[in-house]
Subunit: 463 residues, 2 copies
């Protein structure tokens, strides 16, 4: 079976444009999961995935209904031969909202090829990297294996959800009901980045996340600011509370926030140092110059080993052009915390609520919305499947694939471990300048092409 | 001439519905001055005023172009007999933005009559009180005088601007060019409130105002919050800066903010105490319970004699439904300060800028937008024209008209005094529950009817 690898790789090179055409079709579906206005496109994206999988040869591909967006499930064969490695590939068909739209150079759901001197040719669209482009590296590799070898070197199941960008609210219920169907030896996840353009990598540490929206109200309507000073102003209350959540050293002041944190080992810190990150260049690429986190920690430590408490959005009062002399009746903020190993998301949320409640001035009421959380995760870099994947990546890229961490979160990985006892292999080909979650998201053509080739090799190594 | 007053009042009572019809016509024009999208309706409102004045008998009524919205000017006669009192009536045809629209029970620019047990019949529309309804009390009185007596008891000029709700940027230029034309013995302004439903009043003290918008930027685009902690977040910077602008006693901490303040005299404070404000009822009407200003000051002192620093609007990052795990690149706040006698608006703005600049973290830049200011104002309650107006109001309402202050600002009054050396008489009929600047703005029918009758009497007394 593994003998077929050269043919598979050859076929991948020959069918590159067809693969790109399929990805463009997928990118044209505006499957924004967080906004109810995009309900229909999300369903359309799920159905597109089912069709794609059937076309590849996953005859059983189907959608499973949830109380939110449907989940796609497929298996490449009905019965798995004894001793054959079984993997579950996980991806998500939903994307982040494209806003602010005015910063896109072209419509976010009309994918196009752009070029720049640093990256060469790039696919530009919302979801180009996160996660449609990345997901399609795997499906493209699988298609080539089926065509070139007739069957896959390992048993492959596929789980594609449509709520990753809005906290995966339906996944726990799905895993409770379909856990037996999707539990395999190993989950494969292609939703992370590589260390740099030339260096592939395996992600073995992820931050967790918890999120909460806080809405304050005071008067029963917006007031004329002639009442200014005398009437409670919820923006004043909000900025006073939020302004006290970090100290001068950028340390979070919410009591208990840092409780229980497991510090990275010296070996891990040495490994990170050896990566030789150019902090200036990394921050300079987004117009910044110095790490904004806790004093005394390097940039990589701040992103990978320290938790954050970030304000993702704030609003209150008059939002239009010009001025409006009101004391508003409402103000709200959206907060997410990225968590590190040892932190308990639910306790963090409780601490944030208590912090807010204890600081509410008279006549201000707080409502807490959309609370959810997921723990950080750590894998041992010496596990056999990680070593096999590293070897496959080295074959394709011609250099060692280091184990790195991720400042972001992939809650599904926690759920696979906690609910199904299944480990995950995190291999991704996104780059730090891919602008995921931002306007003009892109995915380099080389990421797409070499990503598919990498998966073809990993499947062979896992056999 | 003054002998005609009984006939004028009788005519006002008989022509009430026609007056209401004219006001409704005026209210249907959505003349929002602060938003460029309403440019045409503002012009239409100006032209409506010219037509109304011509119809009353102000043959010379005309618009004067400015770099913003036009100003309406009119005089009731070409030459004024020696010794006749000359007054300039000031009003504004522009209104506040109607947002938030979803809180209006009916469309804001489709005026209607509503009823409640406390207020009886009320006109409901944006501008019903501020300032279209109030302005029309005066024009209705003038129309009745012309019809019943053939001419007015004093020489009346009229100045109606269209930028009061956006800071009157064109007025200084207009007064510089047309000062001689509009300088009269006294300005009459109907843009204030009465003490309560049964008690008319004259406003002899106004707070000033200064305003500024602060826009912070950090990264050159929204970032994935996986960079959380390590990347500068302008919302974090903004709430930290704004959260430090008030201390625990609700005192503004911006250095120099309280410099030079003239405290009200004991006599004034005694007069305010004698008004017997029911703080609980006043705040209860808008869903609040305790004064939110500086500790140690009564509610009336906080609104009338102490300055405010209020956040009228704040925004940054993701504003949509659900969550978006970004570190935003921008955040901004709109601030207005209500000022009391002795405070210098330009120095206050300078202090706010310096406060912000000195607290900006690395990689955050601040831009300051739309700065403007106007000083507070104080009139001596013993001036003859104030005593005459008080007597006229007592005739109409059957009880004494106290001199009160206003927490709001009427920059034109400052301009009349400083640029033209002209005093103002501030008599208005709005009530504290008129919801001016808020959804469902209303004006009681009794305010409109008795307001017009009051002006008819004041004109007679000033003769």
């Amino acid at each position: 079976m593994s003998d077929s690898l050269p043919e598979v790789l050859k076929l991948l090179d020959k069918s590159h444009h067809a693969a790109l055409g399929r990805l463009f079709e997928f990118l044209r579906i505006p499957s924004v999961s967080t906004d109810p206005a995009y309900m229909e496109p999300c369903r359309k994206a799920a159905e597109w995935c089912v069709q794609e999988l059937k076309d590849i040869g996953f005859a059983s591909a189907r959608t499973v209904e949830t109380s939110g967006h449907p989940i796609v499930v497929a298996h490449d064969r009905n019965s798995v031969p004894n001793g054959m490695t079984k993997v579950l590939f996980y991806g998500h068909y939903d994307v982040q909202p494209p806003e602010p739209l005015d910063l896109w150079k072209a419509p976010p759901f009309e994918p196009r090829i752009a070029t720049d001197p640093k990256n060469g040719e790039m696919i530009v669209a919302r979801g180009a990297a996160d996660n449609k482009g990345q997901m399609m590296t795997f499906l493209t590799a699988v298609r080539a294996w089926k065509l070139a070898a007739g069957e896959l070197p390992v048993a492959v199941s596929v789980l594609i959800e449509g709520e990753e960008e809005s906290g995966s609210p339906s996944l726990a219920g799905f895993l409770a009901g379909h856990g037996k169907e999707v539990k395999r030896d190993l989950a494969l996840v292609c939703d992370t980045g590589q260390w740099n353009k030339d260096t592939p990598s395996i992600t073995t540490q992820l931050r967790g996340i918890c999120s909460i929206e806080i809405a304050l109200t005071a008067a029963n309507r917006d007031l004329h600011s002639g009442m200014g000073a005398a009437a409670a102003n919820p923006i004043r209350a909000l900025v006073s509370i939020l302004g006290g959540m970090h100290d001068q050293n950028n340390r979070v002041t919410v009591p208990g926030f840092y409780d229980g944190i497991l510090e990275p080992s010296n070996e891990t810190l040495d490994r990170w140092r050896a990566l030789g990150l150019d902090e200036k260049a990394f921050l300079g690429a987004v117009g910044l110059s110095v790490p904004a986190g806790e004093a005394g920690y390097s940039l990589l430590e701040q992103m990978w080993a320290r938790p954050s408490l970030e304000f993702n959005g704030i609003k209150g009062g008059y939002q239009g052009v010009g001025e409006k002399t009101i004391i508003p009746s409402k103000a709200s903020v959206k907060i997410t915390s990225r968590l590190v190993p040892g932190q308990d998301p639910l306790r963090i949320l409780e601490s944030i609520r208590a912090f807010v409640e204890s600081r509410l001035p008279a006549d201000c009421k707080a409502k807490f919305i959309g609370e959810r959380g997921s723990e950080a995760i750590l894998f041992d870099p010496n596990q056999h499947y990680i070593r096999k994947a590293a070897a496959a990546l080295e074959d394709e890229w011609g250099r060692e694939a280091p184990c790195i961490a991720l400042g972001g979160s992939i809650p599904i990985v926690t759920a696979f471990r906690d609910a199904l006892g299944m480990e995950s292999l995190l291999v991704g080909f996104a780059l730090s300048d891919d602008r995921i979650h931002s306007p003009n998201e892109k995915y380099n053509l080389t990421s797409f092409r070499k990503g598919a080739r990498s998966w073809a090799r990993i499947l062979a190594r896992l056999a």
